[in-house]
């Protein structure tokens, strides 16, 4: 395009739009009294407003204003979008700087009397801008719908409610009686459309005044001198303006870098005790409220702020009253206002910094925020921000627990009492209480075990025996997280071996079976996992087991996660799920460090149920896919198990029980059945007493009280005045074993020994 044609085009455009003359008008505005730093404020305000608007539009290309998506989309901006954190940070800190700049501008106008006629409109516009700026903060901060934003707006709305008609205003802003989708959309609409439009209008007013009157000469300068020193706006003042903008931009960028964008806490959670604090620019109001408690609160929230605003609005007129009096009044009032605001803000920051409780809760909040944002990277299920915690493996385990365990076990005050409470499960206190009375509802009171273990109150088991015993029991758990008094535990072990009757029902060597559960590693993660798999194993609860076998219903990972969940209830550090769960048969030894020690204890015991499960699981897996069940969707082991059962698979329980060497008649709902007999081993048609076996059984069941030779010369025997066993008839011995002896500690062994064993023991005792 030739020069002539270009000029013609420029002229044509200029003729139609007047762009050049409008620029020239802007460029040639008068700066009375010369270029000054004090004149930079309108330019700064314009710059910040335009920048906020541009950044806001960019943020709007990612942000989604709904209760389900607001937090997740903000986390996406902050943590995933290229430069998203930076843009969000500029926008956030831009507001803070905006408010400071507006405050300084108001101060400058008072100081230089720049508000005097004819520039009152500029002054009022600036007051309005400060109000809009605060309102932009108020409506913008809740938009991420994080804890700070959510709680902040709730408190602010509650304050609004105190004003006359405030209830209605709250409902209107909130879009209903509770905060949610409509609240976010209303705040969003105000923040994005309404408030910026009003701000633009105010900015236009300032610009009009400037076009009309130029920038004011310093107060008190003579007209002649002002005229002499008057300059055009461009380029000197314009250059100064952009330098000021650059300085402000530098501050905003520095703040953004320092905070890596802007803070984003965890998703809004109405159930959490979040300690709401307003943004720093409302902190002075927040602190002011502290001085006016109860019915006086509106003084702080309405009266004082209202008075301050009124004072500002009329300041240009007050300034003119009675010579220097009005001027002094304005300066004094402004000084009070500024020092009050700044002072209260500093006081607020300092008292929060010194408030230990607040700092503690802040730290907790920040920790949960970090967690939430890490999970959010996998995407948030569109149920709203808090659903991000569905990604937490612990949460998924908790859901499993609720589904499968809570019906019978109680925890945190919820759940059934069919089985023992898992509150603080297997902790020292739990074990102690159990030994004192295992028949309590908290333990086995509603199970088939009820009354199988006698209560051991203080008089039967005094502290000097009880304490070593408990220590020994805790040592048996084998968890490195449990601190053991070795000497005390050793004493307990000796008592166990020689004096107490516990070992008549409980074994402590891995794998050995007895009447009560084997206590080797009891309460450990591996033990709990075994119980979940199949509590009816011979060395666990045997025939007393009523808990469903979960070996077929849950995956190894799920069982171990549940076991970890259970041991965590008493503050123990569970072993890594993958260690034990991935390959129970092999990995136990490699498992990292002491975490896995609990698993290492019982590698042999671990293998049996795992094999059993393997057998049952294979056909189930083979069948389910044919149904078109996509394994990708988290291969719901429960669903598969059920599907397999419904299709007439061999009942998984039965398959499992066979493999584990258990009676195959274990019914799916054993609770409904009468107490089964002890180990229905095949009985010979004509039982013949085996005295040798009787000696073995005696050693296990009787010796701890009656002593090796039946003289009752054990500590327990002496204490309870047990009479020697010798001299009784075969019938009386058998009767005592079968029925127990009323009035003594000798209880019935009818359910604990088979008929054969009773005959054997009878034969052995007879021989004493």
């Amino acid at each position: 395009m030739s020069g002539g044609k270009l000029d013609a085009l420029v002229d044509a455009v200029e003729d139609r739009l007047g762009l050049i003359s409008s620029w020239e008008g802007f460029r040639d505005r008068l700066v009375h009294g010369g270029v000054r730093l004090r004149h930079v404020f309108p330019a700064l305000i314009t710059y910040l407003f335009v920048q906020q608007a541009v950044l806001g539009v960019v943020l709007a290309t990612y942000y989604s204003p709904s209760a389900t998506d607001a937090w997740a989309s903000t986390a996406y901006i902050q943590d995933q979008v290229s430069m998203g954190w930076f843009v969000r940070g500029l926008h956030y800190h831009g507001t803070s700087v905006f408010i400071i700049v507006l405050g300084l501008w108001l101060g400058q106008m008072v100081l230089h009397r720049a508000y005097k006629a004819p520039r009152e409109v500029t002054w009022w516009a600036a007051i309005g801008m400060l109000g809009i700026g605060l309102a932009l903060g108020l409506t913008g901060n809740p938009l991420p719908w994080d804890q700070a934003g959510y709680w902040g707006i709730l408190v602010e709305l509650s304050i609004t409610e105190q004003a006359p008609g405030g209830g209605m205003i709250r409902t209107l802003i909130q879009g209903g009686s509770d905060a949610g989708n409509l609240s976010i959309l209303r705040l969003y609409a105000l923040h994005v459309f309404v408030l910026p439009a009003v701000f633009g209008l105010l900015l236009w007013l300032v610009s009009r005044q400037r076009a009309q009157h130029g920038l004011p000469a310093p107060d008190g300068m003579s007209d002649a001198e002002a005229h002499k020193t008057t300059q055009r706006y461009f380029p000197a003042q314009a250059f100064l303006d952009v330098l000021a903008m650059a300085a402000v931009a530098g501050i905003i960028v520095a703040l953004t870098m320092h905070d890596h964008g802007a803070e984003l806490l965890g998703p809004a959670d109405p159930t959490e005790n979040f300690q709401a604090r307003p943004e720093w620019y409302f902190l002075f109001l927040y602190k002011l409220r502290m001085f006016f408690e109860g019915p006086l609160e509106p003084v702080a929230t309405m009266v004082i702020p209202g008075a301050a605003v009124t004072f500002l609005v009329v300041a240009p007129f007050v300034d003119k009253i009675g010579g220097k009096f009005g001027r002094a009044l304005v300066l004094g009032g402004m000084a009070v206002l500024m020092t009050g605001t700044v002072g209260l803000t500093i006081y607020g920051v300092q008292s929060d910094a010194a408030d230990e409780e607040f700092q503690k809760s802040l730290a907790a909040t920040e920790k949960s925020a970090t967690e939430a944002r890490a999970y959010a990277k996998a995407g948030v299920v569109p149920l709203g921000g808090p659903a991000v915690f569905f990604n937490d493996p612990e949460y998924q385990t908790k859901m499993l627990y609720k589904e499968h365990c809570q019906g019978c076990h109680s925890l945190d005050g919820q759940g059934g009492d069919e089985g023992p409470s898992l509150e603080d499960y297997s902790s020292r206190a739990w074990v102690s209480d159990l030994v004192r009375n295992a028949n309590d509802d908290r333990f086995f009171g509603h199970t088939k075990m009820k009354d199988e273990m006698d209560p051991y109150p203080e008089e039967d088991l005094p502290a000097e025996q009880f304490e070593p015993l408990i220590e020994y029991l805790m040592q048996l758990q084998g968890d490195p997280g449990v601190v053991i008094d070795e000497a005390l535990a050793k004493k307990g072990a000796e008592l166990w071996e020689d004096e107490l009757e516990c070992n008549s029902c409980h074994e402590v060597e891995a794998g050995e079976e007895a009447d009560g559960p084997n206590l080797h590693g009891h309460g450990s993660q591996a033990w709990v996992a075994r119980v979940i798999r199949d509590s009816s194993a011979g060395d666990l609860f045997g025939d007393y087991a009523a808990m469903p076998k979960f070996a077929d219903k849950l995956s190894d990972e799920e069982i171990h996660a549940l076991a970890a969940f259970v041991v965590k209830q008493r503050g123990l550090e569970p072993a890594e799920l993958t260690d034990a769960a991935a390959a129970p048969e092999a990995e136990g030894d490699d498992a990292a460090g002491d975490d896995a020690a609990a698993d290492d204890e019982t590698p042999e015991a671990e293998a049996a149920p795992a094999e059993a499960e393997g057998e049952a699981a294979v056909p189930a897996d083979g069948e389910a896919p044919a149904e078109g069940e996509p394994p990708v969707e988290g291969a719901d082991a429960v669903a598969e198990g059920e599907a397999a059962a419904a299709e007439g698979e061999p009942a998984p329980e039965a398959a499992d029980a066979d493999a584990a060497g258990e009676p195959a008649d274990a019914a799916p709902e054993p609770a409904a059945k009468p107490k089964p007999k002890r180990k229905p081993k095949p009985k010979p048609a004509k039982p013949k007493a085996d005295r040798q076996n009787g000696r073995v059984v005696y050693g296990k069941k009787c010796k701890s009280c009656h002593g090796g030779t039946g003289k009752g010369d054990t500590k327990f025997g002496k204490k309870n005045n047990i009479s020697p066993l010798s001299g009784g008839s075969r019938a009386s011995i058998k009767k005592a074993i079968v029925n127990g002896v009323p009035g003594t500690k000798m209880k019935s062994y009818a359910k604990k020994l088979t008929a054969q064993e009773i005959d054997d023991v009878t034969a052995f005792v007879k021989s004493l």
């Binding site: 998506d69 843009v87 000197a236 995407g379 948030v380 299920v381 990708v632 969707e633």
Partner: protein
């Protein structure tokens, strides 16, 4: 601060400096905000914002497919920017046996992406949007489609048919997956 109107040589160069300075700082300021803003807007150019179904997804037992095409829906977890949606339909495929081999055709037409249907009485596929006819082997017979129907990777494990669902660029002769 300097005062008075700018006139003459020294003042002229000062004016020039101020003008250039004004321009430079203004550009810097605009860049400081617009640069990151542009990076943010351009984010989807360099980073996937959606994902899902890029692994094999089971669609049914081997025995449920024969020479007659069966339409299967492919379900997968899908990540859509900040959302993770569990087990939603991400696409569908026509599955049929060709001899002993199992073939899966994407239902997305290679022309402009409409859904391809199967016309059983003609034993042909048809994309009704722009009248593209495909043979039962997937080849173009008539109509505007630039290439044959897109096959999807399949595998059969333990009688379970699995499909790896992909989308391909439309309107070109070659079959190019959309990353």
């Amino acid at each position: 601060m300097a005062q008075g109107e700018d006139n003459g040589g020294a003042a002229g160069s000062r004016r020039g400096f101020l003008t250039v300075g004004f321009g430079a700082v203004s550009v810097g300021l605009a860049g400081a905000a617009l640069g990151p803003a542009a990076a943010m807007i351009a984010h989807p150019l360099g980073t996937a914002t959606t994902s899902g179904a890029d692994t094999f997804v089971p669609v049914g037992g081997r025995t449920s497919f024969s020479e007659d095409p069966v339409k299967v829906d492919i379900f997968a977890d899908r990540v859509d920017a900040w959302n993770r949606v569990i087990q939603v339909k991400v696409g569908s495929a026509w599955v049929l046996a060709q001899g002993d081999e199992l073939v899966a055709f994407s239902t997305v037409c290679p022309h402009l992406g409409c859904g391809i249907d199967y016309v059983a009485d003609k034993k042909k596929f048809l994309c009704a949007c722009h009248n593209s006819w495909f043979s039962i082997e997937g080849g173009v017979e008539t109509g505007p489609s630039p290439r044959a129907m897109d096959t999807l990777e399949t595998k059969v494990e333990e009688n379970l048919v699995q499909i790896r669902y992909q989308k391909f660029k439309q309107g070109i002769e070659g079959k190019e997956p959309i990353a």
